[in-house]
Symmetry: C2
Subunit: 156 residues, 2 copies
DNA sequence: TTAAGTGCAAAAGCTTTGCGGGTAG
DNA sequence: CTACCCGCAAAGCTTTTGCACTTAA
């Protein structure tokens, strides 16, 4: 079990380049706003909500509106540049990682911690053809209590 | 790969009884509203939002308020009578099943389909002690496109 | 040039909260 | 009885939308 740390500068650059290429190939304008929002999601190792992204200093100082942040995050998901993360809370959360990895999900505070584990990655995906479901990827969620919440349970 | 169908009447009855017992042991009033909301979540094989539960005929005819539905669902989760389901959308969704099972998650329409699969159940949970994370259970999410959305992709 | 994107502000949708009356134990 | 719960209505968040202006290609 290893906790995942952030992307390298090189990887981030490659991801932004890939999105730029996607845009030009699909006739989608590669705007300043899209570049900044993508870069910021890649910078975060957390799993931010739209509003968290909106509040980031670089997003604020570029005067990007809240509506654009919401729209852009969805565009980035459609383009495959970022993903949406599954979680038990009531807000949409995004993830700069698009590769297979897994999550520790705290059932008390909704925090999400990325983990990587070869045994989990090697999971063989069952055949879902009978249900006509087309599986693109998978995630394993280990659900429980994070360090902070465990301590609060001990001394409530 | 088998799709899970609903709980039997017997199982539902047992689950309601277990909650009644939990209430009496913990000095929590077992109100009509709590019983009805629990029964209705157990009846559904879907993964309803609070508002979906609120809209059910039996909930409406019992004149249970929206606020009570929201509060009650959270109470039931705290009591371990139901669970919250992880998903990529922007609403909290609940699940009448508390046992280990897995989900097909549609990335386009956010629908969730329960599945059961022995290979997935047998997944060995990695050691998370180094992160001080206390794993209670796990879920495997197979992410992709459901039947309906696949068809819409073909003919957009 | 021009189709698409953006900012703004308002609307819409989801969830929580305060409070007076009601109810389970 | 009495603490806790419920319904109501209002407030507080989160997200989407319509429209006039701006911009990438």
């Amino acid at each position: 079990m290893k906790r995942i740390s952030g992307l390298t500068a090189q990887e981030k650059k490659r991801r932004v380049e890939a999105f730029r290429k996607y845009c030009s190939e699909n006739g989608i304008p590669f705007t300043v706003q899209r570049r900044i929002v993508l870069q910021e999601v890649l910078n975060l190792n957390t799993h931010p909500t739209a509003d968290t992204v909106y509040s980031l200093p670089s997003v604020r100082s570029a005067r990007i509106s809240r509506a654009t942040v919401y729209r852009t995050l969805e565009n980035l998901v459609q383009a495959g540049a970022i993903t949406k993360t599954c979680h038990p809370g009531g807000k949409v959360r995004y993830d700069g990682r698009t590769d297979i990895h897994h999550h520790l999900v705290c059932l008390r505070c909704d925090s999400i911690i990325d983990i990587t584990n070869k045994a989990l990655d090697a999971l063989s995906i069952p055949d879902t053809s009978a249900l006509d479901f087309d599986v693109k990827d998978f995630r394993v969620q280990l659900r429980g209590l994070c360090r902070r919440c465990r301590r609060m349970e001990d001394k409530p």
